[in-house]
Amino acid sequence: MPAKNSEVKKLVDKKYRHGFVTDIGSDTIPPGLNEDVIRLISRKKDEPQFMLDWRLKAYRHWVTLREPDWAKLDIDPIDYQDISYYSAPMQNDDGPKSLDEVDPKLLETYEKLGIPLHERAALAGVAVDAVFDSVSVTTTFRDKLADAGVIFCPFSDAVKDYPELVEKYLGSVVPYRDNFFAALNSAVFSDGSFVYIPKGVRCPMELSTYFRINEAKTGQFERTLIIADEGSHVSYLEGCTAPMRDENQLHAAVVELVILKEAEIKYSTVQNWYPGDEEGRGGIYNFVTKRADCRGTNSKVSWTQVEAGSAITWKYPSCVLRGENSVGEFYSVAVTNNMQQADTGTKMLHIGANSRSTIVSKGISAGHAQQSYRGLVKIFPTAHNTRNHTQCDSLLMGKHSGAHTFPYMEIKNPTAIVEHEATTSKIADDQLFYCRQRGLSEEDAVNMIVNGFCKEVFRELPMEFAVEAQALLNVSLEGAVG
């Protein structure tokens, strides 16, 4: 038997399907970071003064900070002067006016990634903002969305076209002082998506942003701001990929969600940055600050994430439950294989009375990967009759992977009900044998067991993406057992 089993191991080579590089001319500024670089980025984007001022304040704060070291991550030192902070594919000065003016190589790139940008070929009912290195290439269905009053555009357009909204909300959820990476992002962010859903509007389509890092030695620092005005509803999805390279690349994003009275945002992520090879060479360093501010009564936010890529993941999408009866949800599947490391989780800050939160975290660790769940549930004295339920399950594959759980609870109101359940299990040989005895191949059996483990999270994803997430998981764990 053992001899036969090892044949399955030929699948051990992890296949990263999005590892190609697009050969396209680019406008990339030299590595290094100082105030002049920030002025240059701001000038390239033709930004109003308030934006530059904010960037500079953030930069001046950032230089006083040190990288956080509390996460359970083993990271090679990052040389922030060795990174280029802006890279854009060559195009006309004004940028493309329509898809016809977009470089065909870019369109082809997205085609290859399974994201056709021509509206007639696009996924029905999904509008896409395609961000390539530091800039947005195009945003589909903008006109159709505008009919409903929805604004969905590249962040750099929003700065120019809707400065009053940007100035009002930017940094209001994640201030530039928040943490090291948020400060860095605030200083140098290049592009990202901006969404505004007006009062009472249910966004007629799914919105999505597709982030692609292409250029070597660059970082990607995107910023997303979504504002759901009173009584509105939107479902938003982001996807991420990068080429395979031997060096590490930095990705430090900030996402801010503002949710007013009776509004709801459903935010889903399928993160598949290049994870590095089996020996841990290369891969993206993914340091992300995501936070939702449920400001109004009965407001709701739901984070769903499938984290499969990146060499390092440092990410805690959080919910500030300020409004009465506000609801925060966090559904997460994190997969680490080979030498990947992830320290991820969420924060639920209960401020409003009757606020409720749910955390479902599923961690899968294979190879030599290390993964931690880190979560904070904080009940403020003002938060009467709040509830939290946390469920945190880890699945280990093989003998060398690790799973760790760091749940924190701070409860300052005696009426709160907070529950925490945690399990750690190994993918059991008897489960595998049971499936194989019924006729499933070893790989299919692993996929079926793992997908079963993640089911509670996958069912929260929009339909098209649930399928993609499932496929991604299968690829990520190929050869993990054998």
Binding site: P2, Q431, Y434, L440, E442
Partner: protein, 251 residues
């Protein structure tokens, strides 16, 4: 159908099977009885290809193929089914989904098209009725939260859907109350046919009150030490195993 010749197997360096010979013809029902630790479950597991056992000598042919060379799933595709003594729970995996994937994997192996969804649904409804299982069972996670009796019924239900050539049932009767035992036995009997064989591993004669075996074997010390017709099971029930062991050692 199945020919076991001089099978020796060890688990964790302990010799368990020590020259076992057994031949099962097409359409026959064989029962294997024997004292605890005699190697009954090991035999079932070795035939199904479970990891953790090493075959040190002997051979097993199944339908003219060398069984021991095959992966567990290949054995399943060739028609081996193992009813587990302790069926495994798989959270989040739908019972029906597992069966459909298993069936289609076999179809693919034999170069046949996937099972038509409507037809599949008809089949599982029929078989669920046979096992007196509620429809809701079909959409629950595999064995999760099932009672002991429900798990065993689910094993036979799976067997009914997969229609194996050789069903190896490892103590399917253990832990069943009399009503559940009758349902399980009726399910097995309904599947008896000219081209399907059974190897029933059991401690107790009571299952054989409902399922009449063609041959009864006594397994002790890693070998088949006595074979007979169904009356042997009754005799074992009445007299225990000691007399067989003595008979063998004095012979």
């Amino acid at each position: 159908m199945l020919n076991i010749d001089n099978l020796h197997a060890t688990a964790a360096d302990t010799k368990i099977l020590k020259g076992l010979n057994l031949s099962i013809g097409t359409g026959e029902v064989h029962a294997i009885m024997g004292p605890n630790g005699s190697g009954k479950s090991t035999l079932a597991h070795v035939l199904a290809g479970r990891d953790g056992y090493e075959v040190t000598d002997g051979s097993v042919t199944f339908l003219d193929s060398e069984l021991l060379d095959m992966l567990p799933e290949e054995r399943a595709w060739h028609g081996i089914f193992l009813g587990f003594q302790y069926p495994i729970e798989i959270p989040g995996v739908n019972n029906t989904y597992l069966l459909k994937a298993a069936l289609n994997a076999r179809q693919k192996f034999h170069g046949e098209p996937e099972i038509d969804a409507a037809q599949f649904l008809r089949v599982i409804k029929d078989k669920a009725r046979l096992m007196q299982m509620e429809q809701s069972f079909l959409n629950r996670s595999v064995n999760e939260g099932f009672s002991g009796g429900e798990k065993k019924r689910n094993e036979i239900f799976q067997m009914a859907v997969l229609e194996p050539r050789l069903a190896i049932l490892d103590e399917t009767d253990s832990g069943l109350d009399i009503d559940a035992l009758k349902i399980v036995a009726a399910g097995i009997n309904a599947l008896r046919s000219e081209d399907r064989s059974f190897l029933i591993v059991t401690h107790y004669q009571r299952l054989l009150d409902y399922i009449e075996p063609d041959v009864v074997h006594v397994l002790a010390g890693g070998q088949i030490i006595k074979s007979g017709d169904k009356s042997l099971a009754l005799e074992l029930e009445a007299r225990g195993y000691d007399w067989v062991l003595e008979e063998t050692s004095s012979a």
